[in-house]
């Protein structure tokens, strides 16, 4: 039996999709006068789409990817940038 941990890497297109959605959602939040950082942190912690404006379909968009995918992409980006 192979007892080695297998690491599943998300496909590049999935990562690009997460980034595209984050950009669009942040843009909609900005335009409506929200702080995107606060709203995304709230959404990631609570899972409640009420944090995301319905403007420009952002609330529908954010639900196209799982929260763990978003969090993974954010942490991956940070780790890569910091050389961790």
């Amino acid at each position: 039996m192979n007892d080695q941990t297998i690491r599943f890497e998300p496909k590049d297109e999935e990562r690009l999709e997460v980034r595209r959605i984050l950009k669009e959602v942040c843009s909609a939040l900005n335009e409506k006068g929200y702080d995107p950082l606060d709203q995304l942190v709230g959404y990631l912690l609570s899972g409640d789409p009420a944090y995301i404006t319905s403007y420009k379909n952002a609330r529908v968009l954010i639900r196209k990817v799982d929260r763990d995918q978003i969090l993974e992409e954010l942490i991956r980006y940070y780790m890569e940038r910091e050389g961790i």
Partner: protein, 420 residues
């Protein structure tokens, strides 16, 4: 006096657009007392409670007007009164939500002990304990509550129960307090996120709504820029129309919803045998003529909502088998059972639970709605009953459902509002 006349037996089908959330709008209207400039609130349902809150705010010194369908423009005057008219406070429990904002803005508040649905004891002790913890002096006498504090101080508050109203009032009172306030065991309802969003747009620093810990960092002042806010859809109205589809064996698509807000109900309806299709911001309910009996346990959000319990019980009266509905939030929430029994339901209430034995048919009868959500349950039963149901106590239903007879008629129901 108004009545709703319903001829049952029509299978509902089609689309229904959901209105803005009553329980969010009322709190945002109260929150608007802290607006330094003016605000626009969109997606406001035209219901009695909103009209009452408009009068409460006018009584406090707020300029408020309908800009358009479902759009309110609100501008508080520089000097606000600290006490709302007694008869309005008596009429609507949500008026207690002006306390926190008034304490912050004016430094004092005096209110008649609030009224609202008679669905059990809902004391405001937790609100008042929160104000006291923040440093306010609170006096209750002669049927009034009086609180005052020239300056509030941030503090850690652990709520005995995750009360929505207390969470919101304490949040409002802490916005300009000195230091940081942390509310633990906070309520997690989506309407609290709405308030956090609204206050933060005004310049407050609040984090954590939607979780059980909310942190409010006091700020010295709020922004003077106007804001424009759109309210989330009403999850209780969503639940009511999902259950209207279920009780009539219908096929109804609800439009403009946040499906995550009704997950507990969705799970229960699937368990009962209904098909639920969720796509983006719509939910489609396809129900077979006879659903299976299920047990329902009412709990604070994200558990099964107390505000949908009566409607769910109504659906279970026609299910195949015996259901147990247990109410853990408000004690007086089975007051409608006698009315359902009058229509042929077989329900026995034992303490906090109702044992519902499914019957083959309900029959139309003259019934009286004892409160808002019980009224909705009677409407649903009337839709499924044989013959004509006449519902009195419509003023309760008017408090929370926008154009209910128009929306149901669009779906194929035979329902009319009759003025006696």
């Amino acid at each position: 006096m108004e009545q709703l006349h319903i001829v049952g037996g029509h299978r509902l089908s089609g689309k229904v657009k959901i209105s803005g959330a009553k329980n969010a709008v009322l709190k945002l209207m109260a929150a608007s007392l802290l607006v330094e400039n003016e605000c626009i609130i969109r997606n406001v349902p035209l219901i009695k409670d909103v009209l009452t809150m408009i009068e409460v705010l006018r009584g406090l010194g707020v300029e408020i007007s309908w800009e358009d369908d479902a759009v309110l423009r609100i501008k508080p005057k520089k000097e606000l009164y600290f006490s709302a008219p007694d008869e309005l406070v008596r009429e609507m429990r949500a008026s207690v939500q002006v306390m926190g904002p008034l304490l912050t803005k004016v430094g004092k508040v005096k209110l008649f002990q609030p009224g609202g649905c008679v669905i059990g004891q809902r004391p405001i002790d937790l609100h008042l304990k929160g104000f006291q913890a923040l440093g306010a002096e609170v006096i209750e006498e002669h049927g009034y509550v009086y609180a005052q504090a020239p300056k509030l101080k941030g503090v850690d508050i652990h709520l005995d129960f995750p009360s929505v109203g207390a969470t919101e009032n304490i949040m409002a009172a802490a916005i300009l307090a000195e230091g940081t306030t942390v509310i633990k065991n906070a309520a997690k309802e989506p309407e609290i996120i709405e308030e956090q969003n609204f206050y933060n747009r005004l310049g407050a620093r609040i984090r954590g709504a939607g979780t059980d810990t909310i942190r409010i960092e006091g700020v010295s002042s709020l922004r003077k820029t106007p804001i424009d806010y759109t309210v989330i859809p009403d999850r209780i109205e969503v639940g009511t129309y999902m259950l209207a589809a279920a009780i009539t064996g219908g096929d109804v698509t609800l439009v403009d919803v946040i499906p995550e807000h009704v997950e507990a109900l969705t799970a229960k309806l699937k368990e009962a045998g209904a098909q639920i299709i969720i796509e983006e911001d719509t939910i489609r309910v396809i129900a077979r003529p006879k659903l299976s009996a299920i047990d329902v346990m009412v709990l604070p959000y994200p558990g099964f909502p107390t505000d949908i319990q009566p409607q769910m019980t109504a659906v279970m009266t026609l299910a195949d088998g015996t259901s147990l509905v247990t109410e853990n939030v408000f004690g007086g929430r089975f007051r409608y059972v006698d009315e359902l029994v009058r229509m042929g339901a077989n329900i026995r209430v034992e303490g906090r639970s109702a044992v519902v034995k499914g019957v083959n048919r309900l029959t139309g009868a003259a019934v009286i709605a004892p409160d808002l959500r019980a009224g909705a349950a009677l409407v649903l039963s009337g839709l499924a009953a044989e013959g004509k149901t006449i519902i009195e106590g419509v003023q309760h239903i008017n408090r929370g459902y926008e154009k209910i007879e128009e929306k149901l008629t669009e779906l194929g129901a035979e329902i009319a509002r009759v003025k006696e």
